[in-house]
Symmetry: C2
Subunit: 140 residues, 2 copies
């Protein structure tokens, strides 16, 4: 919705030599209007509510392009579809295997382990890509 924010992202694509289309503008707008944890299917639905002709393969293709430009990321919360969000809002996800509850924890919480993995194994971990599975307080 915030048109200025949309333009900011669209400009990145333009600068990269991409053509600016209705579908791209619409998708970026929905991404900005979404709180978090949106599946591709939900995005398709929302975009199609405004532009019914936009096809799902187009959404997937644009999502890939946005990822390639570092604008969005996708996260696997569990066995079902991946969820997408803008790269800015970075946090980790604790997903309860019993009740499915998703708890967000600030990036700093896991900074120590990322540091350790880099130091001990030379591995730059992206602890956001896959959620952290487990059991929440209530489910034991």
């Amino acid at each position: 919705m915030p048109s200025a924010a949309v333009d900011e992202i669209i400009d990145v694509l333009r600068a990269a030599g991409e053509r600016i289309t209705t579908a791209k503008r619409a998708l970026v707008s929905e991404l900005l209007g979404s709180t978090a944890h949106v599946t591709a299917e939900e995005l398709i639905e929302r975009v199609q509510k405004v532009h019914p002709d936009v096809n799902k393969s187009t959404i997937y293709r644009i999502l890939h392009s946005l990822e390639a430009h570092g604008i969005v990321e996708h996260v696997h919360l569990g066995h079902s579809a991946a969820v997408y969000h803008l790269s800015g809002k970075t946090h980790h996800h604790l997903v309860c295997e019993s009740c499915g509850r998703v708890q967000e924890v600030p990036e700093a919480t896991l900074a120590a382990i990322a540091r350790k993995l880099r130091h001990d194994f030379g591995f730059s971990a992206n602890l956001r890509h896959f959620a952290i599975s487990g059991h929440c307080e209530t489910c034991g």
Copy 2:
């Protein structure tokens, strides 16, 4: 292969009231004979090499049952098929997003973070279920 080990697992199933079938015995045997990181498809292939009539849905069903009894676990290393292994061999997986290399790290490496998550959020993390994504030393 080690028939004694097979029997040990089979006995767990028997004790749980399950019927012991050729497919179960064969699958357990293959699991014991596999080093690690076996996909369902690979297991199907190996079992069928000995018992060509065993169907893939049977393998999937048995794998579920073995998981329910805590005998095997499955891990998601990336976007492709899950890999299975016996619950005993617990370690974490660092998967390079660039070259796909899988590096195993001992469970103790991440013990601190599990403790922190439990203390701060009451969350019992199973850091094995999803691999840790990132970039390995050589890929930067």
